[in-house]
Every structure is written in structure tokens, then in C-alpha cells.
């Protein structure tokens, strides 16, 4: 056996993870490429964003080019159970879940992380744009990517010190255009591949169509009312509406109306004007603190309440290990239960939790 450090790279057949593999080979690691075969909705296989036969063939070609072994590992059942059911249950419970977060927690840094360790690897490496800092603090910090437009620290807020200690994120220090250049330099067949945006398992269509196919009971007629109780119309299921939503209500009113609240018990959607929408505070639960410990006193932070939203200022008060409260400087229109509130001081991610 050789003395190289063994790393498992989660490969998707995309440019980012391919470049990760190339960089780590270059740095002298013993690299093993792994692709998870995730869940495919029956009949929609060809439309999946990742782990299609095409993507798998691409990843395999990249691995061959880099002369590294590549394996496909089945994760269909665990993905279905941990991610898809979480997604559907979330909508049934009236929230707007973010399945990528639970996927990172349960699948990438759960199932795959364990596989990597069992393959004798020291590290799991992914193509996420974020940085890990081992030096400045006694434990490992999660930092925003240098390429702020690509920063993905938001979807990594749930990682703990043990996971971070066995994780490599090679792309955090470079820009997307540098990544593409590296792919071209290595003549990787993925250099010009397009970005993927939608959720990987939604198939060919909208989230609404997916939910209707897989959880038909979510189609349930209910009332749309104003906060004073005035009946305005009928909706086809609370799951298809999210807080702050304006379009698709099917109501004509003199002023634009927005979803203010949803009452799951009575299947009622409460709407109102924009002025009624804003909220200045939230409570987050299922909290993770990157350092492993909650700060002892309230503190100022920048907070992202969605993956792609801008950070806003607020005061965070940790309640206990698993929850915190935020009071924002200004009211926000799109605080969405089910999404994560992720906390930063400057470019350092402190942790986060799911908005209640």
C-alpha cells in the first residue's frame, strides 16, 4: 500500500466536482471518485438533474481521464426516505422545505461520508463553494467562498466539527471562471457544461406537478381569506402556496394581495396587502453551531434567510443548544418557515437553523 492520503470525491458529472477531483490528484492525494445513485421518480428518470446515465457516463470519463477509480453507489432508498419524504412532509405541514439542506446532512455528510470512511478515506471532498479555516481558531471555521456570487456556505451550516475535520472544499478559494479554466486545461469533457438549478429529483416539471404526482392528498380545496375573515376565494391546496407569494392566487383585488399566513389545521390561506406582510423576528430550531457551542450572549450578525437572498442585519439570541431567536433591523417580507436562517459575522458562518 502507498502512503498517499486517500480522498473520496463526490462526483456529479458536472464541472465543479470534476475540477475538485483534478485538483486533488494534482495535489498528490489518492483520489476515489464516487457518484451516488439517488432516487428517481419512476417515469421521470431521464429528466433528473443529476445521476442520470448521461451524467454517470460523463463522470466516468472524467475519472478515466484523471486515472482515478470511480464507483456508483446506490443511495436510492436512503434518499427517498430522508430527503424526498422530508420534502413532501414539509409541504403537507405547511412549510417550504429546502431538501438540499437535509440531503447534505443525511446523504452527503451522512451516508456518503460513512462510505468514504469505510473505503479507508481520510477525507470527503465536494465541489461546494465555501472555505474551511483550520488556523485562526482552535476549531475549524466555515467561511464564505472567495467567489461571493457562488458562495454555498448557506447549505453547509449543518456540518459539525467532526465532519469538517474530514472534509475538503477545494473550490472555496477560486472563482467559477477559474474552475472552468482548470477544466479546460485538463481537457475535461465537462468544461462547458451548464449550471444546474432545479432540485435534482423534481423531474420534468414544476414542484407543484411533482407534489401532485407523489402526494395527491395535498390537492385539497380550501378558503382564501383576509386577516379580518373576509372570504375572497378558493385555493387547491395550501401546500402550493408560500408566505409572501403574490402570483397564482386567482383573486382580482384593487391592490396586489400576498400570502400572509397559512392555517394547516383548517386549510385556510390568509392574504393581505404588502404592508401587512413584513416580519421583524423569527425563531429557528434544529440549530447547528459550527463551533459546537452556542454563543452565551445575544450578538449582532448578518443573516441569510434563503440560499440566494442577501444577508441582512439582526440581533441573535441563542435560547438553548437547539434554537435561537432573531430580531431584524428592518422588517422582512419573505421569512419562510422551512428554509434555513444562517448566521454570519463578516465572512464566517456561525451556524444556522430551520425557520419555525
Amino acid at each position: 500500500m502507498n502512503k498517499q492520503t486517500r480522498v473520496v470525491v463526490a462526483m456529479s458529472g458536472g464541472v465543479d466536482s470534476s475540477v475538485v477531483a483534478a485538483m486533488l490528484v494534482e495535489q498528490g492525494y489518492e483520489v476515489i471518485g464516487v457518484m451516488l445513485r439517488l432516487w428517481n421518480e419512476s417515469g421521470q428518470e431521464a429528466h433528473n438533474r443529476c445521476c442520470t446515465p448521461d451524467a454517470m457516463a460523463l463522470a466516468r470519463r472524467v475519472a478515466t481521464k484523471l486515472e482515478i477509480p470511480f464507483y456508483a453507489i446506490d443511495a436510492e432508498q436512503v434518499f427517498r426516505k430522508e430527503v424526498v419524504e422530508y420534502f413532501i412532509d414539509g409541504y403537507a405541514n405547511g412549510v417550504t422545505p429546502n431538501p438540499c439542506l437535509v440531503c447534505n446532512r443525511r446523504i452527503r455528510w451522512g451516508f456518503l461520508f460513512d462510505k468514504a470512511i469505510s473505503l479507508g478515506a481520510q477525507y470527503l471532498a465536494t465541489g461546494h463553494y465555501a472555505r474551511l479555516d483550520h488556523n485562526k481558531h482552535s476549531n475549524i471555521s466555515l467561511l464564505c467562498a472567495v467567489d461571493r456570487s457562488k458562495d454555498q456556505s448557506y447549505v453547509l451550516y449543518m456540518l459539525n466539527q467532526a465532519q469538517l475535520g474530514h472534509t475538503i472544499l477545494p473550490l472555496g478559494g477560486i472563482t467559477k471562471s477559474q474552475v472552468r479554466q482548470i477544466a479546460r486545461d485538463y481537457a475535461l469533457p465537462v468544461a462547458e457544461r451548464n449550471e444546474s438549478q432545479d432540485l435534482c429529483f423534481l423531474g420534468n416539471g414544476s414542484c407543484r406537478e411533482f407534489l401532485l404526482r407523489n402526494a395527491p392528498s395535498l390537492h385539497q380545496l380550501g378558503s382564501i381569506i383576509r386577516s379580518d375573515g373576509t372570504q375572497l376565494g378558493v385555493h387547491q391546496g395550501q401546500a402550493f402556496f408560500t408566505i409572501g407569494q403574490r402570483k397564482g392566487l386567482g383573486i382580482s383585488a384593487p391592490h396586489p394581495l400576498y400570502v400572509l399566513e397559512k392555517d394547516i389545521r383548517t386549510n385556510v390561506i390568509i392574504v393581505g396587502q404588502k404592508e401587512e406582510l413584513g416580519k421583524r423576528e423569527l425563531i429557528a430550531e434544529s440549530v447547528n453551531w459550527i463551533s459546537g457551542e452556542p454563543p452565551k450572549t445575544p450578538f449582532h450578525a448578518q443573516i441569510k434567510i434563503r440560499y440566494k437572498s442577501c444577508a441582512v442585519k439582526g440581533i441573535v439570541t441563542p435560547h438553548n443548544v437547539t434554537s435561537f431567536h432573531i430580531e431584524f433591523e428592518k422588517p422582512l417580507l419573505d421569512i419562510t418557515p422551512g428554509q434555513a436562517a444562517v448566521l454570519y459575522t463578516d465572512d464566517r458562518c456561525l451556524g444556522g437553523g430551520i425557520i419555525n
Binding site: 500500500m1 502507498n2 486517500r6 489518492e30 476515489i32 445513485r37 454517470m56 486515472e67 482515478i68 477509480p69 464507483y71 456508483a72 453507489i73 446506490d74 436510492e76 462510505k115 469505510s118 473505503l119 479507508g120
Partner: protein, 388 residues
């Protein structure tokens, strides 16, 4: 990657013997003619194909006009089952297909298609705990309207050798054609079609140190069969398509070597196989041999390990430099227990942890020793954590 890699998957494919490459070489650019052409170029190529046919016929104890060249063992299986089924239906209204439960997919998927799209009755012959067909089970199931019977000579996943000659006798008495898939055995067992009493027999060259992409179907004279690939009149109309001359030459060369060196190969492989089986069962707990303990291919060792993730085991072994298989090649990582193991009555808590090690002419005891140093640890690391 690893400094030293050890290939232990000779049932998947074999390297082409240097002597075979040498025999093929002139037929790429120098003697490139089309055997169907009238001119001297064509004649030269035709002579090569016919020489090859004669070589194969001799090795099978058959006649040259009973040899059809195909593109692979799977194509031979397809032609045998489809061709015999359609011909028997047309000639005598036969509508029943009888195959064993442990056929290669080239047989079973073909038969399933004949059932689904062409209305044939498909019946399976069960196997015992070793994956072996009891000839009495053929006697019990064969019918006057059976179009074709197919029983694999030796199974690819578990290596068990079937009593083809006994089954052949049963079929011959009833004048029902018997096909056997001999793809796995060509390098190791006698291939005498008279002794085996078979009417159809499939071969693929790359399993015996010949090239990929060429096979043979032996068709006993007067066995009714319908062409599946139609076009030009090659292979007496049974297999249209320009002859792949260099590969046909390569198949014959490899076949001849396999016949001549069979005893030498078997006496090299048998002690290695038995050493591997003995050590594995001794050093690993909750390990079982699959397939028959001695009526098995001389290069073939296959196991199941209780509550082991077989795909994980294969990856671990590969990372350590040892190329093995779970039985049937599965690159997508979809964990379904093998239908062969299931047919043998092996429960899924064992069947998902399958491992096949198949040896080759170049395999050394040193290689097996280093393999056996790695295997126990790899198995233990692949045990499924039921707590999760």
C-alpha cells in the same frame, strides 16, 4: 492509483493471447477482403473464415456446416432461442419454452420477450441449492409442444456445472432441441457436442483468451432454426452481415489453443481455486461457498458473506488493487439480490454480499496470498451496520 493491480475476474473477460493477436493481425490491412466477393481478395478472406470454421467444428466434434459465426455469446443465445422457437412453432405448432432458473440474461430476457410479445408459454426448470438442474425436473416438464430447452453448461455467477449430457439424452428421446450456453466453460471443459447430446451450443471468444465481439452458435444439422438477423446470405442465410474476418480467425486460434492447453490450464487452476476457497472459508466468519463444491469450473470461486454490502466490498478490494466481481457485472450500483442466488434459496441478507473470484492462466499463488491478506478486513469493513 495502486502500484500493483491483480486481475481476478477472468469470467468477465480475459486478455487476448499474444498468439491469437498474431494470427488476427494480417486480416486487418493486408488480407482485408470481403469473403463474399468473387475475386482473389475475397477468396483469401473466405479461406480464412472457412479454415476457422473447420477448426471450431473439429474442436466441437461436429461438422463445418454446423458452425455459425456471430458477434458474441449473447447473439448466439438470441439466435438459438428465438430462431429455434419460431421455427418449431411454424413446423409443429410448438409453443412452450423450457429454460433453467439460472440462465444468463441473454437467454432469460430473450425468453421473457418471446413470452410477452409472441405468446410463448415460458416455463422455468428449478435448481437445487448448488444452482444445478436435476435432469428429472426436465423430464417432468418437457412436453410434445416444447419448442426448445435451454440449460446453461456452467453458470457464470456460481460456476456450477450441469449434467448436460443427461439432459441431452432426455431431450433427444423426445426429439426436442436442447440449447446450452457454453460461454463460461470453453476454456476448461470438454466441448464434444456428441457426448453432450446438444443441438445448439453458444460460445464467446473473449472468455477464452480470444477477442471480444465474436462468437459461435453450433447448430446441429437439420435442427429447425429461423434467421434472426436477415440481409445478405452469409452463414447459409442464418446470420446476415459481412464476416468479421480477423475476429473469426482470432476466435478459432483461441479455441484451438484452449483445446490443446486445456489439461495444463486446469491442473494449474484447480489447486489455486481450492486453496482460495479453503482459506476464505477458514479465515472469514459468516462466509459460504456458492455453487457446487467440486462440480464447478476449475477457475471459479464464489461466496456470499452474511450482512455484507457486496458493492462496498468490491470497491474496497478494487481500491486495494484486486479486481473481482459480485457475480454479474453491475456498474450502476443497484442493489438487487441476484436471481441466480435467489433461485438457489439464498436469502437476501446473504445474497447481497456476494463475491466472485475467477482465476486465469497467469494467476499465481502469490497473488492469491496477497488477496487473502486483504479480503478478511475488507469483508469486515463491508458488514452492514444494522444499527443505522
Amino acid at each position: 492509483m495502486q502500484n500493483q493491480r491483480v486481475y481476478l475476474d477472468f469470467a468477465a473477460t480475459t486478455p487476448v493471447d499474444e498468439r491469437v493477436v498474431k494470427a488476427m493481425y494480417p486480416y486487418f490491412s493486408e488480407r482485408f477482403g470481403n469473403p463474399s466477393s468473387i475475386h482473389s481478395f475475397g477468396q483469401q478472406a473466405e479461406a480464412a473464415v472457412e479454415d476457422a470454421r473447420e477448426t471450431v467444428a473439429e474442436g466441437l466434434n461436429s461438422r463445418a456446416n454446423e458452425i455459425v459465426f456471430t458477434a458474441c455469446g449473447s447473439e448466439s443465445d438470441n439466435l438459438a432461442i428465438r430462431g429455434a422457437a419460431f421455427a418449431a412453432r411454424e413446423l409443429r405448432g410448438a409453443n412452450h419454452i423450457l429454460i433453467s432458473q439460472v440462465e444468463h440474461h441473454a437467454i432469460s430476457h430473450t425468453a421473457e420477450q418471446l413470452k410477452r410479445y409472441h405468446g410463448f408459454n415460458l416455463e422455468y426448470i428449478p435448481v437445487d441449492e448448488y444452482g444445478m438442474v436435476n435432469p428429472n425436473d426436465v423430464t417432468m416438464r418437457i412436453k410434445p409442444d416444447t419448442a426448445v430447452v435451454s440449460v446453461i453448461y456452467a453458470n457464470n455467477e456460481v460456476g456450477t456445472i450441469n449434467s448436460i449430457s443427461e439432459i441431452g439424452k432426455i431431450c433427444r428421446q423426445r426429439k426436442i432441441p436442447l440449447h446450452t450456453d457454453a460461454v463460461q466453460v470453453t476454456a476448461y471443459l470438454a466441448m464434444d457436442v456428441e457426448a453432450l447430446q446438444v443441438d445448439l451450443l453458444s460460445i464467446g471468444a473473449h472468455k477464452f483468451y480470444g477477442p471480444k465481439g465474436v462468437g459461435v452458435l453450433y447448430i446441429r444439422d437439420r435442427t429447425p432454426i429461423l434467421a434472426i438477423q436477415t440481409g445478405g446470405g452469409q452463414e447459409t442465410g442464418l446470420r446476415a452481415g459481412t464476416h468479421n474476418v480477423p475476429y473469426i480467425v482470432g476466435l478459432a486460434a483461441a479455441f484451438k489453443i484452449a483445446q490443446e492447453e486445456r489439461e495444463k490450464r486446469v491442473s494449474h487452476l484447480l489447486p489455486l481455486r481450492d486453496y482460495l476457497i479453503g482459506e476464505t472459508l477458514e479465515t472469514i466468519t459468516d462466509a459460504r461457498l456458492t455453487g457446487h463444491p467440486n462440480k464447478r469450473l476449475p477457475n471459479h470461486a464464489s461466496f456470499v458473506f452474511k450482512e455484507v454490502d457486496g458493492n462496498n466490498l468490491l470497491m474496497l478490494l478494487d481500491v486495494e488493487g484486486f479486481a473481482c466481481s459480485s457475480g454479474s457485472a453491475c456498474r450502476t450500483g443497484d442493489p438487487q439480490p441476484s436471481n441466480v442466488l435467489t433461485a438457489m434459496g439464498i436469502s437476501s441478507e446473504w445474497a447481497l454480499g456476494s463475491l466472485r473470484i475467477t482465476l486465469g492462466t497467469q494467476t499465481t499463488s502469490n497473488e492469491l496470498e496477497s488477496f487473502l491478506r486483504v479480503l478478511p478486513k475488507a469483508v469486515e469493513r463491508s458488514r452492514i451496520q444494522t444499527a443505522r
